[in-house]
Amino acid sequence: MFASALRRWLPLALLTLLAFGLRTYELERRPLHADEANQAVKTGELVEHGRYAFDPRDHHGPTLYYAVLPLAWLRGETTLAALSETTLRLVPALAGTCSVLFLFFLARSLGFGPAFLAAALMAVAPASVYYSRYFIQETLLVSFTLAATLATQRWWQSGRLGWALAAGVALGLMQATKASAPVFVVCALAAALVFARRRPATPHLSRNLALIFGTALGVAALFYSSFGTHAAGLRDAVATYTFTSARAAGDSGHEKPWWYYATLFGWEKNGGLIFQQVGFCALAFTGALLAFATRQTLLRATAVYTLLVFLALSLPPYKTPWHVVHLVPGLAVLAAGTLALIPWRTLAVIATASLLFLQFNQTQLVAFLREADARNPYAYVHSSPDVLKIRALAQAALAARPAGAIRIISEEYWPIPWYLRSFPAGSVGYWSTPPADCDGALIIVSAAQASAVRARLHGDYHESFLGLRPGFLCVVFTPVPPTP
């Protein structure tokens, strides 16, 4: 009995371990992206002072920040200065690992093998691994979406209130993670309702639905109101759609053609590096076709859901690469479905092993070898590794001139505030244009403003370059010590 259970579940345990390992190995190695740094500083405020207020204009939902709290406490990080990249990125890493398990249980109706394969494909998927190591909301949203779908599926089949409650909690967490959550709910509902063959098991459908809806609303309200301490957050949770729709409609600087997300699963050679997921994509596409040739409801629903999500993400001009993580679970299930339908066992094994190897190879490239490289399609306007030098520069500057100021004069400066978080607030200042007094112990200036700042400096300064991100250079001014 035990041996049989072990044989059955050990592979899943090992897969979970692999997913966790890929998502947590050397989490600090990649410099923080501007978006990560911005959210990290906001999280620091919550960790250090317990303050959080939802900002409907420039930030997504609160779950990401609150999820850091238990990890920070466990790791003994109670201030912004003490907060580490590892602690922050552990949140999406854990969510990403849970996603793999959720997908396995969600796909169980396909059989243990295909469900395991779908989970394995998600465990090693380049986009999933990359953005599970990235302190933004997207992976959390995927995880909560899968959890909500799984709980709803189980509730539908069993009629148990516990699953209804779980579905409500997961839906609430989705909404509290990102304003785009309803898009995925609508896509999932549309796909499920089209192919649902049975009525829900519960005889109290409306009561159950009210429980799900009420729980979701309550959970979302708790987070948006900062657990009852910021009532305006509830109003802002609705107001955020004004800003979100304006962003989605364009003029954000992130406009891309409608086929952009498809290209991320295709073949691209950039600067000698090859980024491709052709095999994965081809198997998933075949899976979508086969879904309609077979009676497999889950495959059909997955195909429709994935297509609807693809359309929903692709139609607005606003596009960023992290959104592709929403397509990975569906593509993984469809690809696994194709592999499971191969009638020749040897061929199926070879195809599966080859696909996993290719996907793993791509993950190694994007998440570990070239994780901040401008050629990496997932490293979107990413910070340069140069930013890792900023803390040491500031330390040296203030050691030489303890009363001096560190001035950051640039139209764009993230993620610098994260790297200077441990310095007293009074010793670091940020300007978007050159102030009257530019002198300081360390002055980091965007290249565009370097000549204006240079004209306002008094005394001798040594100048060097620092890259904020590819194509955006800063000039670093440090006072030349007086000759003895």
Binding site: G272, A374, S384, A448, S451, E463, P470, G471, V475
Partner: protein, 220 residues
């Protein structure tokens, strides 16, 4: 010394100077096409060297100076580059497009050109990577007759201001890569080997080379 002898001496000096000047010619370098694809980001006056308008000033080199490095053997601290080959550095293709540059790993890396015999180096032209505005850190260019660069090393350029590459502190200025490359005065340094070091760049931690030209003359 009487006036006539002094006049004769002055005349001789002037003639010698004129003869030497006649032996100096501007170094001719074939430049690749500019490679900033799309609209460049607004980067104005970022170069620590004063921004230049118009043509790059000529570098005067002795007449008879030739490109000694074309097709010569290149070795590197990263002997197995992931992208490109070391032969690209001296193959004459400095276009900078994909497939024409070699990418060396992170941390300080060097490449070394074996000129085949001791040479008097008049100039070194370097194209690291010119399809994006970036600055390579800690660029050091040295010439030596010792392949291990332990003895008889002449440094002709060094902008490693904090000696992070452990090759000595340099005072030369950092510069932004461009299609013209960086043209260095070889100052007549003597040696068979030319070694170039760098320590990542402002965009990533990697080190790239499209082309390196070592101009000079072989010592008979």
């Amino acid at each position: 010394m009487n006036r006539s002898r002094f006049s004769l001496l002055l005349a001789l000096l002037a003639l010698t100077g004129a003869a030497q000047a006649a032996d100096s010619v501007p170094l001719q370098i074939e430049l690749p096409k500019p490679l900033f694809a799309g609209t460049p980001r607004p980067i104005s006056l970022p170069n620590l060297e004063k921004p230049r308008t118009g043509k790059r000033p000529d570098l005067m080199v002795p007449a008879g100076t030739i490109n000694l490095s074309k097709g010569k053997t290149v070795t590197s601290s990263d002997s197995l580059p992931v992208i490109g080959e070391l032969t690209f550095i001296t193959d004459g293709d400095k276009s900078g497009t994909d497939g024409t540059y070699v990418e060396l790993g992170p941390t300080p890396q060097w490449i070394q050109i074996d000129l085949g015999a001791t040479a008097k180096v008049a100039a070194v032209a370097i194209w690291h990577f010119h399809s994006q505005a970036r600055v390579y850190h800690d660029v050091v260019v040295q010439v030596s007759n010792d392949a291990a660069f332990k003895t008889g090393v002449t440094t002709i350029f060094n902008n490693d201001d904090d000696d992070s590459s452990k090759l000595g502190k340099g005072t030369d200025q950092a510069y932004i890569e461009g299609y013209e490359g960086k043209l260095l005065d070889g100052k007549g340094a003597m040696g068979r080997y030319v070694r170039l070091s760098s320590n990542g760049n402002t965009s990533d931690e990697l080190n790239h080379y499209c082309e390196v030209e070592v101009h000079g003359s072989l010592v008979k």
